[in-house]
C-alpha cells in the first residue's frame, strides 16, 4: 500500500467526493490518469476513511462516499414520514433480492398470490430492480434482479451481504420452483437441503434438467 500515488489518491478522493451518486469502477477508471491502479487506490482510500464520519462504501461495482451509519441517529434531522412501501412491494423486493434472477411467475408462486399491478413498477421506479435476461423456458419470460442502486440504498456491498442469505440458502429456502416440484419427487426433509444446494448456482436450464432427473428417479 505504500506505493500508492498520493496525487492519484487525492484525485480519486475529489472525484468521489464531488458526486452524489455512487460511481462505477469503469467511470472512475476513465477519469483517472493512465496507469493509475484503481483497485489499490479504492482500497487505500476506503481504509483511510474507515474511522471518519464519512465512509467510502462499495455497492456492487459502484463506489461512493456515504455518511457513517453509526451516526444515523444524530444525522436524521428531518424526520419526514418515509414513503412506506406496501407489504406486497416489500415482499416482492425481498423475493427478487434473495432469489434473483427470478420471474414474475416465480414471485407469485412464492407469495401464493398474483402480483397486482403497480407492485413491480414501484420497485422499478425506485431504480431498485431491473430486467435481467430471459429464462430459457417456454414463453421465455423476463427475469428480474436488483440493481446497484438497491445495494447502495440499503448500504449493502454486495448481494452476499443480504441479511441471513447464507442461512436461507443452507436451509434450502432459496428455491423458487413450485414446492410440489421440489417435493413431488423426493420426500424427507433431509434431502431438501441437498436438492436446493444442487439447484443453486445453476442456470435455469440446469434446474429443469434436475427436475427431469428427479422425475425419472421417481419413475423407477
Amino acid at each position: 500500500m505504500n506505493d500508492v500515488d498520493p496525487q492519484h489518491l487525492r484525485l480519486l478522493e475529489a472525484i468521489l467526493f464531488s458526486s452524489a451518486e455512487a460511481m462505477t469502477e469503469q467511470k472512475l477508471a476513465e477519469r483517472l490518469p493512465e496507469g493509475a491502479d484503481l483497485p489499490v487506490l479504492l482500497l487505500e482510500l476506503r481504509n483511510r476513511y474507515s474511522d471518519h464520519g464519512v465512509h467510502l462504501v462499495r455497492a456492487g461495482k459502484t463506489w461512493g462516499f456515504r455518511t457513517a451509519s453509526d451516526l444515523a441517529a444524530l444525522l436524521r434531522v428531518d424526520r419526514r414520514i418515509e414513503r412506506k412501501l406496501s407489504r406486497a412491494a416489500v415482499e416482492t423486493l425481498s423475493i427478487i433480492a434473495y432469489h434473483q434472477p427470478v420471474t414474475r411467475a416465480e414471485v407469485e408462486e412464492i407469495r401464493g398470490v398474483q402480483l397486482s399491478k403497480g407492485t413491480l413498477d414501484v420497485l422499478l421506479d425506485q431504480g431498485w430492480i431491473r430486467p435481467k435476461g430471459r429464462r430459457q423456458t417456454p414463453g421465455r419470460p423476463v427475469t428480474w434482479a436488483t440493481t446497484e442502486a438497491f445495494l447502495d440504498h440499503f448500504g449493502l456491498e454486495s448481494l452476499s451481504d443480504l441479511p441471513g442469505i447464507d442461512e436461507l440458502k443452507a436451509a434450502g429456502l432459496l428455491d423458487a420452483r413450485p414446492a410440489i416440484q421440489i417435493y413431488g419427487a423426493r420426500s424427507g426433509a433431509e434431502e431438501r437441503a441437498a436438492a436446493a444446494a444442487d439447484s443453486e448456482g445453476l442456470g435455469d436450464g440446469d434446474t429443469e434438467e434436475i427436475v427431469e432427473e428427479l422425475a425419472d428417479e421417481d419413475g423407477r
Binding site: 452524489a20 451509519s69 425481498s94 398470490v113 449493502l156 429456502l173
Partner: protein, 274 residues
C-alpha cells in the same frame, strides 16, 4: 397487517376462527391465512401438524361460508386441495401411485409456508436497515467543474419502458376501430320523439316529461343509456329551438328547463311561463 403477523399473541385466547373471519380482508390469499394458522400452531414451522392445519383451514372456510362471506375461488381451491391432502394423509398410500405421496405433498406445503415466511422476514430485515437519504447520506452539494462539458441526458429505464408502453397504447387506439352496437340514445331519436310529442303539449312542460320511459330510474342507477337519453333530449331541444320548432325556458341558472310548442297560444302569452 404486518404487525398483526408479528404479534402472535394477538389471537391467543380467542378462537382463531373468529379472528380470521373478522380479518379476512387483511389476508393476501389462502397461503397467507395458512401461514397465520401455522404460526398460531407452532413457532417453528417445520414442526407444524399439516393435518391439523388442514382441519383449521377447512373450519375457517366452513365458518366463512356459514357467515355468508364471499370467498374468492382460490380459497375454495385451497380448501379442496387440503381436503384431498387430508385424505391422502389418512388413508394408506395406494400401491404404485404415480403422483407424489401425501407426505411429499405435506412437506411441500410446509416448505411453501417456510419459504414465504423467510421472504417476509427478509423483507422486514431489509427495510429495518439504514437507508440512503434517511439514515445515511450522500454528498449534499455535488460539485461541477469547469472546462469540457459533458451533456448527460436524464432518462432512466422506467421512463423508457413507460414511453414505449404509452406508444403501444396509442397505437392500439389507432387500430381499426370496431364499434359495437350500443343502446345509447341519439339526438336524431330524441328529435323525432320531441317533434311527435310537442303537438300534444300546448303549455309549458318540463323537459323531463319528454325523456324516454325509464330514464328516471335509469338515472338513479347511474346507467349510461339514461344519461345519454337526457343529453340527447336536451341537445335535440336546442336543435329544435334553433329552427323555431320549440320554445325553451329556464328561470334561473341550473334551474329546470321547460319547453312547449311555438304555435300554442299567442306569442305575448309566452312570458307567463309555468
Amino acid at each position: 397487517m404486518i404487525d398483526g403477523f408479528d404479534d402472535t399473541d394477538q389471537h391467543a385466547g380467542e378462537s382463531p376462527m373468529t379472528a380470521f373471519v373478522v380479518d379476512i380482508d387483511g389476508y393476501e390469499g389462502p397461503l397467507d391465512i395458512l401461514l397465520s394458522l401455522a404460526r398460531d400452531q407452532k413457532v417453528d414451522l417445520t414442526q407444524i401438524s399439516v393435518l391439523q392445519l388442514a382441519d383449521q383451514y377447512l373450519a375457517f372456510v366452513a365458518e366463512a361460508r356459514r357467515l355468508d362471506l364471499e370467498l374468492a375461488a382460490e380459497y375454495l381451491v385451497m380448501a379442496a386441495w387440503l381436503a384431498y391432502l387430508k385424505s391422502r394423509l389418512l388413508l394408506p398410500e395406494p400401491p404404485g401411485a404415480e403422483e407424489p405421496s401425501g407426505e411429499a405433498m405435506a412437506a411441500a406445503l410446509t416448505f411453501q409456508l417456510e419459504r414465504l415466511e423467510a421472504m417476509r422476514e427478509a423483507g422486514q430485515h431489509l427495510m429495518a436497515r439504514n437507508q440512503l437519504g434517511q439514515d445515511f447520506f450522500a454528498r449534499g452539494q455535488p460539485e461541477r467543474f469547469g472546462g469540457n462539458t459533458l451533456t448527460v441526458l436524464q432518462v432512466d429505464l422506467s421512463e423508457l419502458l413507460r414511453a414505449y408502453g404509452a406508444h403501444l397504447q396509442r397505437r392500439q387506439g389507432a387500430q381499426p376501430l370496431r364499434i359495437e352496437p350500443h343502446d345509447l340514445h341519439s339526438v336524431e331519436d330524441a328529435l323525432k320523439r320531441l317533434r311527435k310529442n310537442l303537438g300534444h303539449a300546448p303549455s309549458w312542460e318540463s323537459l323531463w316529461r319528454y325523456l324516454p320511459p325509464g330514464t328516471f330510474e335509469g338515472l338513479r342507477e347511474g346507467r349510461l343509456s339514461a344519461r345519454s337519453a337526457l343529453a340527447a333530449t336536451f341537445a335535440a331541444s336546442l336543435e329544435l329551438a334553433k329552427g323555431g320548432g320549440v320554445r325553451l325556458r329556464q328561470n334561473k341558472p341550473f334551474g329546470p328547463i321547460y319547453l312547449r310548442a311555438p304555435q300554442a297560444g299567442n306569442s305575448e302569452n309566452e312570458e307567463g311561463g309555468p
